[in-house]
């Protein structure tokens, strides 16, 4: 089939597709997910990737559970403005996700990775912005500690720069550095900014747990593509699933256990071990629960074993348990026809045809269903979804050994990460409380003048001169010159921060919650870039092709948001200064 694909070879490919579909029915195989990947790889290799749409559209009938194929087709339809096909492909994509276990697992893992990457970007964005917001006042307070030493302001600036640079220089994980920077800044922040810092730390705990989730899920992915556990749909089975190595012990719970045994039975069916399959399906049915799919599959096995009557009974039972299921009615209808029980066949014929036509993403056509084809039921992957996102102790247990711990939290050892994050939060709260009880520096958000204050820091973050809107209208002399200089340098600093770290200007202007929202948007875009860029560069095939487009779009979104954030911060700060009569270039 892969050889038959290509531009202008539609007829030859259709013949191959029909032949393959018949073979798939004989082995109860629902989908051959490897086929579109192989065709796309060949197209890319031979330079007809751009004209591979027709071939891939044709093989969607033998690979209906291929999530990347449906996504790729939907993208092509969107680009070519084919609305009807686009809606149909979106249906196919949705159907494949709901019925193909590994696809659903991949989707879940993608979501977790995307959330983790976005959370890390948010923590980096928040911690850097908060540190730069606190830097002037922090420098003044460090200078107070160095009182008596020569050049104390220069020394203090060096110390604060070192606070920033040391984690970078030593290659500390970004989460650990972010917590350190946020903790350092806490005493000088407004309440809204503390919310941003606190949110970042809480999100980092989420990243830590996501590491545990991935650690628990990773081995399943390692074998899914090779026909093992959950990989049976569409790949050549090795005559049994890799259950012990790949899944049974990883995700606990009765639903997961049941799903694992179902996968075993499906693998046995596809491998032709019908007695073993019958035994497993029977065991599952005896345990009770919703067994419509198990009855249907056992019916197929029994028909293949020549136990037609028992098979028919199973199909009838499945139809009663799941009247809208489609598959069992079709299989019963086929058997009635083969047994010449035409009255019975005529009775269920409309429901059988309507049922299999509604089995998205499968495409069963009347002309091709005339050889007594029996349709197997796929795994109930909705149970996978439920099991995956049930909060489990394993997440916390596996998190210390996860790749995320080493990437983001080094050098904090795994067991100490929750404590480290909790200590960061506690330190923030403590420092904030202490800062309203002792004399500390505060930087005027408008003009940059530094004042030693005690008490309500929030109420004093704009100096009296700015509140009175006197601009530089203070008495002539050194004080006036110094104020002018302070305004000039402060403006330069905030503008530089706004450009390098978008949103910083808005924080200086007091728009904390809007800045938080902006940071979330920027982080989501950057997170999408991280996850899609990695797949675009490493995955290849259909996924790699689509992810290349996604990361380009994500990069564009990041660039646009960056520019908008810089302009917004710049303008917000200008407005703040204007409102306090220190705007303009009259220095």
């Amino acid at each position: 089939m892969v050889e038959a694909a290509g531009p202008g070879k539609g007829e030859a490919l259709d013949t191959e597709v029909l032949a393959l579909r018949r073979a798939m029915f004989d082995h109860s195989i629902l989908s051959m997910n490897a086929v579109p990947d192989l065709i796309f790889d060949r197209a890319a290799r031979e330079g007809w990737k751009g004209r591979s749409y027709e071939s891939l559209r044709a093989v969607s009938r033998v690979a209906p559970l291929s999530v990347p194929l449906w996504a790729w087709l939907a993208r092509e339809d969107a680009l070519r403005f084919r609305l009807e096909e686009f809606l149909s492909d979106v249906d196919g994509f949705s159907g494949a996700l709901r019925q193909y276990g590994p696809g659903l697992l991949g989707y879940a893992v993608w979501l977790v990775l995307f959330a983790s990457a976005s959370a890390c970007w948010f923590a980096v964005w928040a911690s850097l912005n908060l540190l730069l917001r606190a830097r002037p006042a922090l420098t003044s307070d460090v200078a107070r500690l160095l009182k008596g030493l020569p050049g104390q302001e220069i020394l203090a600036s060096g110390v604060v720069l070192a606070f920033f640079a040391v984690p970078v220089a030593f290659g500390v994980g970004i989460a650990a550095a972010a917590v350190f920077w946020i903790a350092l800044s806490a005493a000088y922040l407004r309440r809204g900014e503390l919310v941003i810092g606190g949110t970042a730390i809480v999100l980092l705990f989420g990243v830590f747990l996501c590491g545990g989730f991935l650690e628990a899920t990773r081995p399943i992915g390692g074998v899914a593509r090779h026909g093992g556990w959950l990989g049976g749909e569409g790949y050549h089975s090795r005559g049994g699933s890799d259950l012990d190595a790949a899944g049974r012990d990883l995700l606990a719970g009765p639903q997961w256990e049941r799903l694992a045994r179902s996968a075993d039975a499906r693998a046995e069916m596809q491998g032709g071990n019908l007695k073993a399959a019958d035994s497993i399906w029977t065991g599952l049915i005896e345990e009770g629960g919703n067994n419509a799919d198990a009855y249907n599959n056992r019916g197929i096995v029994r028909v293949r074993l020549g136990r037609i009557g028992e098979g028919l009974a199973d199909f009838e039972t499945a139809s009663e348990l799941k009247p809208a299921g489609g598959r069992a009615q079709w299989n019963a209808y086929q058997l009635y026809l083969q047994e010449f029980r035409l009255d019975q066949a005529a009775r269920i014929q409309p429901a059988a045809w309507a049922g299999i036509r509604a089995l998205v993403p499968f495409d069963y056509r009347a002309g091709e269903m005339s050889h007594g084809e029996l349709i197997a039921s796929p795994l109930r992957v909705g149970d996978v979804w439920m099991t995956l996102f049930t909060v489990r102790e394993e997440w916390l247990r596996d998190a210390p050994g996860s790749a995320f711990r080493d990437m983001f939290f080094r050098p904090v050892s795994g067991g100490w990460v929750p404590g480290f994050l909790a200590a960061g939060l506690a330190w923030m709260a403590l420092l904030k409380l202490v800062s309203v009880k002792v004399w500390m520096n505060s930087t005027c958000r408008s003009c940059g003048a530094r004042t030693l204050i005690v008490g309500s820091r929030e109420a004093a973050d704009v100096c009296n001169a700015c509140r009175a809107q006197v601009g530089k209208g203070v008495r002539g002399g050194e004080e006036r010159d110094r104020r002018g200089l302070s305004i000039l340098l402060h403006r330069r600093y905030v503008r530089a921060c706004s450009v390098l770290f978008p949103g910083a200007g808005a924080l200086w202007a007091g728009k904390e919650f809007r800045a938080l929202l902006y940071g979330v948007l920027l982080s989501l875009s950057a997170g999408l870039l991280t996850v899609s860029w990695s797949a675009g560069r490493l995955a290849g095939g259909l996924i790699g092709d689509m992810q290349s487009d996604v990361w380009k779009a994500a990069l564009g979104a990041v660039a646009v948001l960056w520019l908008l954030g810089a302009a917004w911060g710049w303008r917000s700060f200008e407005t703040l200064q204007f409102n306090h009569n220190v705007a303009g270039e009259r220095l």
């Binding site: 990775l113 640079a165 970078v168 050194e478 010159d481 340098l489 860029w533």
Partner: protein, 295 residues
């Protein structure tokens, strides 16, 4: 009326103009300088010091007292050239100083100029009579006979008082930890004591306190004798213009801030590389592309 100072002394000249209630200008020249006093009805209403004697110029006095910066003084002087108004009038109009402050410093200027001309032993004088109407923005006319008594005291005591202090430039400051009773001070001492907060340069302290150099030296000597202040000599090479000091400091802070900004920029670039390594590098990709395997 004109003649030589050696023939007709300065006190006599002022006595004559005052007693006869004359109006007009009295120009006194000597030591290559000329000072002009303006009389109205025998009282002094204004004085014009020699331009080369900058210490007695009103603008300089107000700058030394901290009411103006160097750049503002230059701006107002250039404005004075175009408007034809006197500097004091401009400053009051612009709201830089009040009329009371102007009046006090005009009196101070008259006193300084009078004490200065009293020291002349050779020179000339010339009086031209004409009607003078005192300006509305100025202070009260000053009777010369009152000033002359202070002038005589200045001539008698100033050399002795000056001898208490170092001959060159010196600095004064309050002694640390000294407890003072403000009620024990004379008026001059009290003002001086307060003005010591302003600067350690005695000339600027006198100006801030709105006292003549003689009054200032007298008060300072009294404080020194009570042991409330410390005096330290500075060598001539160490004397620096305070305005220049401020300019230098501002220039330094600008340079320092630029360097600091550049260093933070470099640190930000290093951080960007570091973040790239954590979230966008090939190593990170291996983790972030784990989901691909499932499809």
């Amino acid at each position: 009326m004109q003649g030589k100072i050696a023939d007709f002394g300065i006190p006599d000249i002022f006595q004559l103009v005052s007693s006869q209630g004359k109006s007009g200008s009295l120009a006194i020249s000597g030591n290559d300088r000329m000072t002009i006093f303006l009389f109205s009805g025998g009282s002094i209403v204004d004085v014009q010091p020699d331009r080369r004697e900058s210490k007695s110029l009103l603008g300089t006095m107000l700058r030394d007292a901290g009411y103006l910066t160097d750049s503002e003084l230059k701006r107002f002087l250039s404005f004075q050239g175009t408007s034809g108004k006197k500097i004091g009038e401009i400053l009051v109009e612009k709201g830089k100083i009040s009329k009371d402050v102007l009046a006090r410093y005009l009196v101070l200027q008259v006193k300084e100029c009078l004490f200065d001309v009293l020291t002349l032993r050779e020179g000339e004088y010339r009086f031209e009579g004409f009607a003078v109407r005192p300006v509305t923005w100025g202070g009260e006319p000053i009777r010369p006979d009152v000033l002359m008594m202070e002038g005589m005291q200045f001539l008698d005591e100033y050399p002795r008082l000056k001898g208490i202090f170092p001959s060159g430039d010196f600095r004064v400051m309050r002694k640390r930890g000294e407890r003072v009773d403000p009620h024990a001070f004379s008026e001059e001492e009290r003002i001086l004591w307060k003005a010591l907060d302003f600067s350690d340069d005695p000339e600027r302290v006198y100006r801030k306190a709105c006292l003549t150099v003689f009054e200032g030296v007298k008060g300072m000597a009294a404080l020194l004798q009570r042991g409330l202040i410390e005096v330290s000599a500075v060598d001539q090479g160490g004397r620096v213009d305070p305005a220049r000091l401020l300019r230098d400091e501002i220039a330094f802070r600008r340079r320092f801030d630029s360097i600091r900004l550049a260093l933070w920029g470099a640190a930000a670039v290093a951080a960007a590389v570091w973040i790239h390594g954590a979230l966008l590098s090939r190593g990170a990709f291996r983790t972030f592309s784990a989901w691909v395997d499932f499809f």
